[in-house]
């Protein structure tokens, strides 16, 4: 009997070719660089890499990165939920404009975003004079780094939630209202449970970027070792000092954080697959 293929099935050879290309590209552009980071870090052994991480400046960089993420991520989670709630569940003038505005940090070069903050809060900036008189330091200090990070990571939660909430429509909220629920009850018992997975993804992505942001933070930080260097900035400083093991050790730690985020996301997807499918309409 002659072998028959389904009309939508490609020739086996082309399938193999396509898979090989995909695997090749992923290996070349994603796996190899990542592997290099770890091998370079461990080139002179685990001890040396560990010493580089135990350095006071490195520890300060890790601390600053964690503090920055700890401030930026919860704030953006709240902003993101509020903005997407307004956009998806209400009609108002300027809605389109708000949607565009939320995307702004994605379309602007991070360096420019950083410069904006320097122009506003820097010594020669709009508020520079009054801030100096009030003895408040924003640029070349932790507040500037946090602000820049918030700006850069603003879209992640909202971008994740707006399509999801628009897709879910307003029916359930209207039902809750007609059953006597207050706005707060409706949000806590109906809206929030329906978006919890989208929110979690948004927060994970937001966190990954908050820890990894380089451009904008680099402009506002001033690169003061042990004070205003985040992990990505510290990597650059070490690398430029020819301290390759140290640079790659910190980079490995940063990469590990990203990998943990990814693993966490996959684990959640796998563990709650049914639940995730149920809260999406289709």
């Amino acid at each position: 009997m002659k072998f028959r293929r389904y009309p939508t099935q490609d020739h086996p050879l082309s399938r193999i070719a396509l898979s090989l290309i995909a695997i090749g590209v992923v290996t070349l552009f994603l796996v190899l660089p990542l592997a290099t980071v770890f091998t370079e870090a461990l080139r002179k052994g685990l001890g040396v890499a560990w010493e580089a991480l135990d350095d006071p400046d490195a520890r300060a960089a890790v601390r600053l990165t964690l503090i920055t993420a700890a401030i930026a991520v919860p704030l953006n989670a709240v902003f993101g939920v509020a903005a997407s709630w307004a956009i998806a569940k209400f009609d108002f003038k300027g809605k389109q404009f708000l949607t565009t505005l939320i995307d702004l940090p994605f379309s602007i070069s991070p360096v420019v975003s950083g410069l904006i903050y320097v122009l506003i809060f820097g010594l020669q900036g709009w508020f520079g004079e009054s801030l100096r008189e009030a003895n408040v330091k924003i640029i070349f200090a932790v507040p500037g780094i946090v602000l820049a990070t918030i700006f850069i990571t603003f879209p992640f939660v909202a971008r994740e939630l707006i399509p999801l909430m628009e897709d879910q429509g307003r029916d359930e909220e209207e039902a809750a209202t007609s059953l006597g629920a207050s706005g707060w009850d409706t949000f806590m018992r109906v809206t929030l449970p329906n978006i919890r997975w989208g929110l979690l993804y948004g927060v994970l992505l937001c966190n990954a970027r908050a820890m990894g942001e380089f451009g904008a933070v680099s402009v506002v930080s001033g690169h003061i070792r042990g004070l205003t260097n985040t992990m990505p900035l510290h990597v650059e400083v070490l690398y430029n000092d020819y301290q390759f093991v140290g640079a790659f050790a910190v980079a490995s730690l940063l990469a590990l954080l990203a990998l943990v985020t990814l693993v966490l996301k996959s684990l959640l997807e796998w563990r709650f697959a049914d639940d995730i499918a149920a809260t999406h309409r289709h």
Partner: protein, 243 residues
């Protein structure tokens, strides 16, 4: 305690949805709003439920200026076309929702809520479905849960948007008779929207035939059928009966 709708006008951005709609129905009436899509019938229903507000006109119900009562205080049980069940809640949580969100003083104790849920499940013939999720129910079952949820708040008014629209013919017939029976038993003023004149005429005490934001004719099914007032009504009945 009758329902009086007076000269309701509602315009959406480009087109008028309701163009001066008035009708009166006695307490406990079973009223059908029937007409082609875009005739404004759903908009009128949503205004009664407090989910939409008219540009002008008034609604009086139960000796209240109904438009001044916020949606959450109206106790107007609304059954949505797509049911709008809370996807992440079990059937019993869905039905109990309206009771559990009440202010502490007005909230019945847990055992009382559980008892009411059981009662309603029996009423809609879904005993034993307490722990199911909406995604595990058929269309007809979802519809009945939606109705039980609306009835749980002891509504002053029951509003149904195309309640049988998404169901197959057999289930539709069954649910129809059963909705009528529930209405007779509870005597709640009920308004339902349908595009199916046969359904409207078979089920309702009063029928409002709507077209392009206006009520073309309002009366008992017998009167409307016997003496269509406008060519549109005559045509609407004719065309649909012909299918």
């Amino acid at each position: 305690m009758s329902l009086v709708v007076d000269s309701i006008v509602k315009k959406f951005e480009r087109f008028p949805a309701l163009n001066g709609v008035s009708l009166t129905a006695p307490q406990g009436a079973f009223l059908a709003l029937v007409g082609p899509s875009g005739s404004g019938k759903t908009t009128l229903l949503r205004i009664l439920g407090g989910l939409e507000f008219p540009d002008s006109g008034s609604v009086h119900f139960a000796d209240l200026n109904w438009l001044d009562v916020p949606a959450r205080d109206r106790r107007a049980g609304f059954v949505f076309q797509q049911y709008a069940l809370f996807k992440h809640m079990t059937v019993e949580k869905n039905i109990a929702f309206g009771l559990t969100v009440r202010a502490k003083k007005l909230r019945p104790p847990k055992e009382e809520i559980a008892r009411r849920v059981e009662e309603l499940l029996a009423l809609v013939q879904l005993e034993g479905y307490n722990k199911r999720y909406p995604s595990q129910l058929s269309g007809g079952q979802k519809q009945r849960v939606a109705l039980a949820r609306a009835l749980a708040i002891e509504p002053r008014m029951l509003l149904l948007d195309e309640p049988f629209g998404a169901l197959d013919a057999k289930v539709r017939k069954e649910l129809r008779g059963w909705l009528r029976a529930i209405h007779e038993r509870m005597g709640i003023t009920t308004v339902f929207v349908t595009h199916d004149q046969e359904e409207a005429f078979a089920l309702a005490d009063l029928v409002a035939v709507m077209n392009a934001g206006k009520i073309e004719q309002y009366g008992t099914p017998q009167d409307v059928r016997r003496a269509p007032k406008t060519p549109f009504v005559a045509d609407f009945i004719e065309v649909q009966a012909g299918i």
